[in-house]
Amino acid sequence: MTVNGPRGLSHLKSLESESIEIFREVAASFERPVMMYSIGKDSSVLLHLARKAFFPSRIPFPILHIDTKWKFREMIEFRDRMAREHDLDLIVHTNPDGLAAGINPFDHGSAVHTDIMKTQALRQALNAGQYDAAIGGARRDEEKSRAKERIFSHRNAQHAWDPKNQRPELWRIFNTRLAPGESMRVFPISNWTELDVWTYIYAEGIEIPDLYFARRRPVVERSGTLIMVDDDRFRFNPGETAREEMIRFRTLGCYPLSGGIRSDAADLPSIIMEMQASRTSEREGRLIDSDSVGSMERKKQEGYF
């Protein structure tokens, strides 16, 4: 009745089974599901679980990547390789209005850039695809407001989350019913912790982008945050130059908004150990959260994952 493994099942195996069950419930219950793919480690686990859930069938829904055009170049290469290797039905969407307006993190700041190129872009893509279920990789341990997110989280026709009107979720019975125009956000790895994700990646040998591993990379340091100079669009402040440092990333996103950390952890075991020893929370490196207090709650209501 719970993920508490019955004799013989490790907790990772139990978590895996629970997630697979959720994936299958989506495939069986919705007309047009889609899986969000952000190329990060959580997405990599999600993709691996989806492949397991439907094997030997292909994943029976498309994989959607919202490309802000400011992702690390390596992420895009990784994404396209995964799509080829796993025969994915990959859909890439960029907000054409934002692109035309030249929205970028340097001129417009993280809040505007994220809203237009990510939140609004996602809404466009979901509307265009008329998806009734969007699968995401959010976890309940990430942030306080996520702690009470449902696994099957109902969204109204405007993709907004109504926290006052959440459906109670008992046992493993998921209410997947929708009215026309409404949709569901589904989080198969809700009950995983960050450590679970890393140990699972290690145990299963799941491929993740090399950006997670410490390498010498060109960076500039701004108010204590290490920003990687990933391409020639980078705006240097007067007197600023890139210098090589041994860094890695704990979360991946738009490169000008992703803070790296100094690290020597060049392989998975070292990362896991370093992470275990570290005493700062995961989202600290994510610049979008620090823009305003309670931002995650607000972003979620607006439709951000």
Partner: protein, 638 residues
Amino acid sequence: MSNVLATALSAETALDLWLAEQTDKGLLRFLTCGSVDDGKSTLIGRLLYDSQLILDDQLASLRKESRNRTTGEEGIDFSLLVDGLTAEREQGITIDVAYRFFSTDKRKFIVADTPGHEQYTRNMATGASNADLAIVLVDARKGVLTQTRRHSFILSLIGVKHVVLAVNKIDLVGYDAGVFDAIEAEYRAFAADLGFETLVAIPVSALRGDNMLAPSANMPWYRGPQLVPYLETIEVASDRVEKPLRFPVQWVNRPDLDFRGFSGTVASGVVAVGDDILIAASRKPARITRILTMDGDQPRAIAGEAVTLVLDREVDISRGDVLVHPGETPDYSNQFQARLVWMNDEQAIPGRSYLLKLGAQLVPASITDLKFRTNVNTLEHSAAKTLELNEVGTVTIATDKPIAFDSYADNPLTGSFILIDRISNATLGAGVIEYGLRRAQNLSYQSFDVNRKVRAELKGQTPQIVWFTGLSGSGKSTVANLIEKRLTAEGKHAYILDGDNVRHGLNKDLGFTDEARVENIRRVAEVARLMADAGLIVIVSFISPFRNERRLAREIAGDVKFSEVYVNTPLEVCEARDPKGLYAKARRGEISNFTGISSPYEAPEAPDVVLHGAVQDPLRMADELYARIFEWGTGYTI
């Protein structure tokens, strides 16, 4: 782990060791019950802090926020770790179940934290549905309260088997053993009937840390376990693996025409390659030939594993079907009794149509009977016409078509369900099945169309046609009426078709020509057959003078038991009785084609019964015939 890693072991080796340790770790899901006043947030905050899950950045802001508040030696108000919901309260967000994660060297924990007072029953039921254990918090100064009883009742309803009674704020009663003992004794007495498998009471101070991790020096009188070590070691392993196999088919896996598999999670029991299985609904058998995962085929799968099964033959299986072992089948029925927790502002109304979801089965259903409501504070039963939000009722539920289920006590995953509003799609209520009604394990529902057999079983009789023939005035109707009365008095369902009720309606367009007589009998025979199909004992009382007509009637009856009763009364006797004056009229030539006078009567060659109307008393004849009808009924395959 940092100690291990500080050694000279290579990262990889150290990690392998540590990973092995992680894998051996169990996961305990528990629920905390109690209000903020009882120190619940402080308790959870303390657990998170002690497991060193609070990160440096969080700790720094916590110390700042804790000024001017009640803190322990660490200078931290632990409740702030959990109660970071102030902003949400201001926004009017429903405060409901939150899940928190921590781990120790021995175990991983997921805590379902269910704050909020108004929605307490609903939230607690939700949190409890996936919990192995519950911590029931009691303030040592207040003892067992109404609220404590309510929480415990909901735990019992949802089937949480392991309970820790944490008597908190024991420091505020001077670490008094007497206070603790009295609370424990009162709670044990109350909880005796709630079906908890383990119950341990621990005196703690979440704020000061007494009896949280280590024995408290303040309570030398206490010999029991400390909270965290107890949570780390309590054995809650479910016996799901030992229960009968339940494999609900979630998704039919069909990548191409050459492969057809059935994907799902083993809800209970073990399934192995070579096993004979049955589909719970259709009772069709098959054998397991493969158990697939992306990691390769495996010889068996145990409860909790998500796999894909392949069978040895083509059988009709779709989502919602449950695969089981022969001899260990679940209930398969359209009615059961359940306890229902109502979770919506829209009240529960018997007779209204809802959608019921149980496993992967989704069917229309309604509450057919609201037996009583249980007051969650007093546990008293009271009559009720509806259920309001947060109320608990015992109900009968009927589904539009049969579903496979177990009682919740036997198998929580196949014994629990939710009810969904058909218009708003809201989850209205959650239920646990007590038992199936109209137990039907041995009935073959494969052919369960409503048919003569089913209707007959409902009526507890063998449908049949008893066909009377004889001259007008022979006594057919007298005996037929006595038989009908007798059958009805015995609780059987019988009906008489005679000239009076057929000739005036159904057959009033027919005259008395030969063709009309044949058509008359044909229609009567068809109606008799329909009535027998409906499960009735049909008594037909017509002169029916011609053998061919009677043969036709017997043919129309088909496989319905058909008996011919010949009331053999001589013409002279009949004519002498002449109850309706018909013989006189016929003699006067006023009625043409009158049987016995101007038209022949062909006596039956091999009747099932011959009654001698001239010499026998009608009651005796009825008695004799009743015995025969009963005899014909028994042993006859419907």
